[in-house]
Symmetry: C2
Subunit: 299 residues, 2 copies
């Protein structure tokens, strides 16, 4: 029995609400241009663990914000994440045919449609985040959230991290370079998920800093555990073939640090992340569950 | 001598300021990841007529807004336009090797970098638009401008128009379908350029509606004249081979309506656009120049 028993049950009601909101925020499949709208829906509604929305809701909970106040934020971050996967999977990038055991977007549709679906999902994320529905807060706070999302997914965040990732194929990176890449590629958006609710309610700097640090640590822990699963995991549970990154000659934490050191580092980061939650008290239970899940999940 | 003599001279000081602002809004070429940042700069700083920024400044002038109040808006729309060209030129889309007589972004760099440069430029546009520099106005007005930009470039705007465009290859479209496609593909962003300054200064609905109508008419006039130039223009002045759309088997206004009817339609739209400016008086001179330029330019 792990400390994270009941993880699914804990988040199920929230996830159910989220999936229904997410579906309604997307254009209908029969709205023209239909192939584009179907591809957008395919990319977003094809499952996934919804870690980023759960981080949003859990950070909101730690700040005593009701779920309904961050619905638009949760939708926006998942749309950004989905668009990034569609583009990362493209033939010119990672050239992946399968994602979560299903054909990737450019395989199910075509390359042009996949590129446009990603583009349109990025735009839709900003539209949702700046709309009048599903977020309450001052206009100034909401503008700050828009700016933060843009920074998290731009060339100094997610897109820049993917560029580093492509440059690193076939290279040996040291731990610092590897961490820099992942702090940009996946870390920036994960940090944003936990910091944005703090901007929304305009809380003081100390608690916002703790959330920022929590996001950094958990983001890295997720990535290292991903690399561990890539090497040791079950293809059915992870949804991709084992060793896929190693086959692609990408530097990983396990190839750089070895499996055991990687495991220790991930656990250590998760523990440090839990330490950031002290000042939030029992309201941070959901965040704590996510910090543990980062390093004890099997897929 | 045309009515638009002195077009270049009229806008030169503004364009000079704009180019310098635009350059400074981009990440430096030596900032890591360098290939991505170089590609972003290549895509944005490679020239172009800067019609969208000029529409922004000209609409601001009609509303008695100083140029400095819309600098960020002008930069944001040009970044969106540049990103759309980079993605449209990709092998999976229009597969163009040349743009303005220079190698397209994916030729000068590589496909993955071009995809990421487009992605990062879209994000940067939203970052610039929501930043504290270069725009003054209430936070609520600025949030409205963010929402408008997102809608203009999403699946119901620019990205959706490009999807219609790709679907239309090899098809015969009637005038209505062709207009719908272009109202989305290029029209939505052009309309946004003239309407967004009205949101910024929160002016009344009537003048905003006139600007909206002006933007619709001018956007379509630009597109029809593009099709005319594509069939009749000089490759040196237009920067692309003559008949490139026809070669690609794309429906155009000239193939649908014939050359003479297209010319009459473009002139008629430009005249109608000029009619929308009456209530703005002499302050709308710059917008009027752009409406004329739409249909009398040679490239």
């Amino acid at each position: 029995m792990t400390v994270n028993d009941g993880f699914q049950e804990h988040f199920t009601p929230r996830l159910k609400r989220f999936e229904s909101n997410l579906e309604r925020a997307l254009p209908r499949a029969d709205e023209a241009p239909t192939s584009l709208h179907q591809a957008m829906r395919y990319a977003v509604l094809g499952g996934g663990k919804r870690i980023r929305p759960l981080l949003v809701y859990s950070a909101a909970e730690a700040l005593s914000l009701e779920d309904t106040r961050v619905d638009a934020l949760a939708i926006a971050v998942e749309m950004i994440h989905a668009y990034s996967l569609v583009h990362d999977d493209l033939p010119a990038m990672d050239d992946d045919d399968l994602r979560r055991g299903q054909p990737t977007c450019h395989v199910a549709f075509d390359e042009a449609t996949a590129i446009l679906a990603g583009d349109a999902l990025q735009a839709l994320a900003f539209e949702v985040l700046s709309s009048d529905r599903g977020l309450t807060g001052s206009a100034a706070a909401r503008l700050r959230m828009v700016r933060g999302l843009a920074a998290a997914c731009g060339s100094r965040g997610m897109a820049g991290g993917q560029a580093h990732d492509l440059e690193a194929v076939g290279c040996r990176l040291d731990r610092e370079a590897l961490e820099t890449m992942h702090r940009m590629k996946t870390g920036a958006l994960i940090r944003y998920c936990v910091v944005a609710p703090a901007w929304l309610c305009e809380i003081d700097g100390a608690r916002r800093s703790s959330l920022h640090r929590f996001g950094s640590l958990v983001g890295l822990a997720f990535q290292i555990h991903d690399d561990i699963l890539d090497e040791t995991g079950d293809a059915v549970e992870t949804g991709k073939p084992r060793d896929s990154d190693r086959d692609r000659n990408k530097p990983t934490f396990t190839s750089t640090l070895g499996l055991e050191t990687s495991r220790e580092l991930a656990r250590d980061l998760s523990e440090q992340a839990l330490g950031c939650l002290r000042e939030f008290g029992p309201q941070s239970e959901s965040l704590a569950r996510l910090a543990r899940f980062a390093v004890d999940r099997r897929g």
